[in-house]
Assembly symmetry: C2
Homo-oligomer: 212 residues x 2
């Protein structure tokens, strides 16, 4: 269905469409026009039509979109029907919160292992997964072939850990550290979450005139 | 120093410059050229010069930038010397992790209060702050005048809570919910962190050809 490489800015809007259409479906909507969807989402109808056109023909002129069908097609584009195995490295406060807070299955992943270096955390359960020593990661990867990893570790250990994971076949990182994985591994897929940077932006906007 | 409204895309790069210059300073760098900084950060020298020019004249042709001075100026632009009072609403897994993980003082904020609706959490300490009932928020805001709030609560209570906070004088939100605060309050400052959306993007890139 895809017409080649879709720009990242379009991709970044898809999860929001997906969420929004889920709410509409729960609210009993069967069809919706691009104009109505645009109003509800604070976008323009032409932006929505443009976005959806990147992937193929979703709607029918004059009939609007079938909410459930559109949502399911966007879910397919996002790869959410797959459950890529994923490991969490770092079971400190943030790692444990991510493990507890995120619905991995709804996002195309399955959390299959959690690793740490801290002897006090190793052996404890986080949800229904027992935290293992990072020393076990080679063996674990050979057996479970995780495609992706979440990094919730200090920056100074991130280089060593990511090198190791990549050598074990991990191809994608959800990176909460400030270490720039792509600098030495340009072909790896990385989604950075820089929470501190995000708060810094809020500080800027609170103290200066800021684009909304 | 600012030349009017700076575009959001430039602003979004400033925290990374700030972090990077901090590391250079720690590593003993006194001066750095835009070319060398660009190489280290995976940017182009002209991009860096353009970004810094939005704010005024930082470097000196042929001499490069004074690392400490540049960092301090960017910190000032970001408003990091201020400590805006901030409250956390929602002391579940994610809220507690944010409270423990983030260095608020380095980001221009001071965490002054934590609130929840859960009787089992109210009265407990998170760091050195005692979680209060959300019923106390009016009184607390009158006394402490928080400028900003972190929302780590379910989407279905986000509308009521954000309306209340705005009526109490809160002007900026670090929003971890999927509720769109700006839809009904267009003048409020909002920095959204949609962790689930970010993971969904990773899923897409793992399953499709994706712009790096």
């Amino acid at each position: 269905m895809s017409k080649g490489i879709i720009s990242k800015s379009v991709i970044r809007r898809l999860p929001r469409y997906y969420r929004f259409l889920g709410e509409l479906e729960e609210g009993g909507y069967v069809r919706i026009s691009s104009r109505e969807l645009a109003e509800k989402m604070g976008l323009t109808a032409s932006q929505i039509r443009q976005d959806f056109n990147c992937f193929g023909e979703f709607g029918q002129q004059g009939y609007g979109y079938n909410v459930r069908e559109l949502r399911s097609q966007i879910g397919n584009i996002l790869g959410l029907e797959k459950k890529n195995p994923m490991v969490l490295i770092g079971a400190g406060n943030l790692g444990r919160a991510i493990a507890a807070h995120i619905n991995f299955a709804d996002r195309g992943f399955e959390l299959v292992g959690i690793f740490d270096v801290n002897e006090e955390i190793i052996g404890k359960n986080v949800g229904n997964i027992t935290v293992q020593s990072i020393d076990e990661i080679d063996k674990f990867c050979t057996e479970n072939k995780p495609a992706a990893a979440i990094l919730c570790i200090p920056k100074n250990s991130a280089e060593k850990v990511s090198d190791k994971l990549i050598s074990c076949g991990v191809r994608a990182f959800w990176n909460f550290t400030h270490y720039d994985i792509r600098f030495s591994h340009p072909d790896v897929i990385v989604e950075n979450v820089h929470l501190g940077d995000s708060l810094t932006i809020l500080s800027y906007c609170l103290n200066s005139v800021c684009e909304k």
